[in-house]
């Protein structure tokens, strides 16, 4: 049984300019103990995806459409809400937030309550999810801060957020998230607002913590590099839908989807120091008006008639290779196959039966 199973998730937001179909049919699976990365530019819907998992859609205007499914540990979280829309039901909510699924947000500057000390906020989570109070909570909070790599935890517990640097605040956020002993950690651009040197530290921290605790990680980022270093599997998001997914190493070395290739090409790397950066032409379209047919086709160098006419399905590209990464302990057949699955949503790939046109 997969830890988190998202099927046909559609989260739309009503805006003055129309309905933003930010998440428009996403399938995603996270196994126990797995690290999955979600990559996309701003506007691809990745943040809304994260928010949908914990039921924090923007109000008013955010809603999940019927037909969406969100299963955590096998149990369906979405129930029928008002106007036929789906929403996470009360019991599901309590199971999820902070306890089963914890979130770490992008802006450590503003994501911590400025009038409460770091310790108070961590202890709050401890009290809520583990029933710890007083001295027990204090000790546990100290231990958590040590785990996230903050020296002198006793001092830092009594600090207010504005007295801490960005990296420290992010560590506090992480400690707060870990307080409930979650099984899945969703990190939405956790390092984007930090200095590059600190970014590496925090990513390493995330990877280490998840490995030690056997916790799953859903890392959302626009930075392929960040995802590459931490995640076993990567999912590429564009236009509110999954465009490609597979084991990280394979997707990065053998990208199938033109968008993925574009992303890879547009990153500066050590080898290409003299070459010009090749950004993907065009802009991300508005979520209120996705292009017809394949959503990437207006910016795709390889687009042809079929791309304009209809949207391709997300297809398994090839049989999961037998010599992929070894099976994780406790993983079943399905889980193992899922882990090695390789999929792409592109007419090119489908047509050629697995080998993209060059």
């Amino acid at each position: 049984m997969s830890l988190l199973e998202i099927r046909s998730l559609r989260s739309w937001v009503n805006t003055p300019d129309g309905v933003a179909r930010a998440v428009d049919g996403v399938d995603l699976t996270v196994e126990s103990g797995e690290t999955v990365g979600v990559v996309g530019e701003s506007g691809s819907g990745k943040t809304l995806l994260a928010l949908s998992i914990v039921g924090l859609l923007p109000e008013p205007g955010g809603h999940i459409l019927p037909g969406s499914s969100l299963r955590f540990r096998g149990e369906e979280l979405l129930g029928d809400g008002e106007k036929g829309m789906r929403q996470i039901r009360g019991k599901g909510m309590r199971q999820i937030r902070g306890k089963g699924v914890a979130m770490v947000f992008q802006e450590p500057m503003t994501s911590l309550n400025p009038v409460l000390t770091a310790g108070a906020q961590i202890r709050e989570a401890l009290s809520l999810h583990r029933g710890m109070k007083g001295k027990v909570a204090q000790e546990q909070a100290t231990r958590l801060l040590k785990e996230v790599g903050l020296p002198d935890p006793e001092i830092h517990l009594e600090a207010y957020p504005h007295q801490l640097s960005g990296g420290m605040r992010q560590r506090v956020m992480l400690a707060m998230a870990l307080a409930g002993d979650p099984e899945l950690l969703v990190a939405d651009e956790p390092t984007t607002a930090l200095d590059p040197t600190i970014q590496a530290q925090i990513l390493a921290l995330l990877e280490g913590v998840c490995r030690r605790r056997g916790m799953s990680l859903l890392l959302i980022s626009h930075d392929l590099g960040a995802v590459a270093g931490v995640c076993r599997r990567v999912v590429v998001l564009y236009g509110g839908r999954v465009m490609e997914e597979g084991p990280t190493r394979e997707v990065l070395t053998r990208p199938l989807h033109p968008y993925t290739r574009g992303l890879l090409r547009s990153r500066p790397s050590m080898e290409s120091r003299d070459a010009l950066l090749e950004p993907i032409p065009g802009d991300v379209p508005e979520a209120t008006a996705w292009p017809r047919g394949c959503r990437f086709h207006p910016r795709c160098a390889h687009a042809w008639d079929q791309c304009r006419k209809g949207e391709p399905e997300l297809r398994d590209v090839e049989a999961p290779r037998e010599e992929g990464p070894p099976a994780e302990p406790g993983e079943g057949e399905v889980g193992a196959r899922e882990r090695r699955a390789r999929r792409a949503r592109c007419w090119l790939v489908a047509e050629e039966g697995g080998h993209g046109r060059e």
């Binding site: 924090l56 937030r97 979130m103 503003t110 989570a125 420290m168």
Partner: protein, 343 residues
């Protein structure tokens, strides 16, 4: 934090002195001879001259100012021209009723205003929000003295017509005739009944303004990232609103207290007049009408002092409640050290 407080206090002192000086000069530059109003036509010019000398009114303005300032600073406010009492006694007697009235009104107004503002923010766009907004605006746009009169109309004059309920509140004074004859509880009830209408007149207008401000502040705070974090942590909604959102939203409301304080005192002037409430406002207005300058001077000065103190309290409270000011940038907090290597 201490330096912040000290600075504010030190700044307030010359402010108060400046206010007193302005008042002195305004009143003493008034046309007409104040004494002439009190002495009947039968008083001889020589007698008037002697009285004038006694009161020191024959000296030049700067000298008078100096002498007055000295006495003032020592707490000697002079003698009332109309009532034969030291001004100080008059003021000390009038202060408690005013404090009772305004204190109660402020407390009640903040309670009401905050509660309403929070409800409005949490239920934004609902019918309740619109209704409360309309009510808040309606009361905020009202002159308090008119509200007072309308309340008197409804609850005193026509009380018996109110849906068959004999709801009657006394329209004037602090106590009824025969108050001394009532038992303890009777006296308490009597005082409370007399407090209702005046306090309500002040409270409703003030609460309207506070509710609007709190609503705006809450709406802004609710959109903040840290509220989202609190929800993501799994906290029950009421805790999110009360502990996380409200605590932040109330910080600017404290400054509102400082801004509104002068208005509160002004309102008290009208309300005391309407209800014949024996407080500072009535004292002041009567004194102005009777040209009793020492009382006017001392009374206005005291009002100004109350305003300055109110502002000061608000500033200090603000500094205490907001940890960003309390602890500043660096003092007291941990700094990243070189050896730890983390930041």
């Amino acid at each position: 934090m201490l330096s912040y407080a000290l600075r504010r206090i030190l700044y307030a002192i010359p402010l108060v002195l400046g206010v007193a000086t302005i008042l002195f000069f305004v009143l003493n530059l008034a046309p007409g001879d104040p004494l002439a109003l009190y002495m009947g036509p039968g008083v001889s010019p020589e007698a008037m001259e002697r009285i004038r000398q006694n009161l020191g009114l024959d000296q030049s303005l700067p000298v008078r100012y100096g002498r007055w300032l000295l006495a003032f600073l020592q707490g000697d406010f002079g003698y009332s021209l109309t009532r034969n009492q030291p001004v100080r006694d008059l003021i000390l007697g009038a202060l408690p009723p005013t404090l009772l009235l305004t204190g109660g009104a402020v407390a009640l107004a903040f309670l009401m205003g905050i509660a309403l503002g929070v409800v409005q923010a949490v239920r934004q766009y609902s019918a309740l929000d619109s209704l409360l907004s309309a009510l808040a605006l309606f009361f905020y746009s009202m002159p308090s003295f008119w509200l007072a009169i309308m309340l008197i109309l409804i609850f005193s004059v026509n009380a018996r017509n109110l849906w068959g309920w004999p709801v009657h509140f006394p329209p004037s004074g602090m106590t009824s005739a025969g108050h001394d004859l009532m038992g303890f509880w009777g006296q308490l009830k009597d005082r409370a009944a007399h407090l209702v209408l005046p306090t309500l007149s002040l409270t409703l207008v003030l609460a309207g303004g506070i509710a609007r401000y709190v609503r705006t502040s809450m709406l802004e705070v609710i959109r903040q990232d840290y509220v989202r974090t609190a929800r993501a942590k799994g906290l029950p909604e009421h805790r999110v609103i009360l502990t996380h959102a409200l605590r932040n939203a109330l910080i600017p409301v404290i400054t509102l207290f400082g801004i509104y304080f002068p208005f509160l005192l002004s309102g008290a002037v009208f309300i005391e007049h309407v209800f014949s409430w024996p407080g500072m406002g009535k004292l002041l207005v009567d004194a102005i009408l009777q040209r009793d300058y020492p009382v006017v001077l001392a009374g206005s000065f005291l009002f100004a002092v109350m305003v300055v103190v109110g502002n000061l309290l608000a500033d200090l409270l603000y500094g205490w409640v907001d940890p960003r000011i309390r602890y500043g940038r660096h003092p007291g907090g941990p700094r990243p050290t070189a050896r730890s290597g983390t930041a």
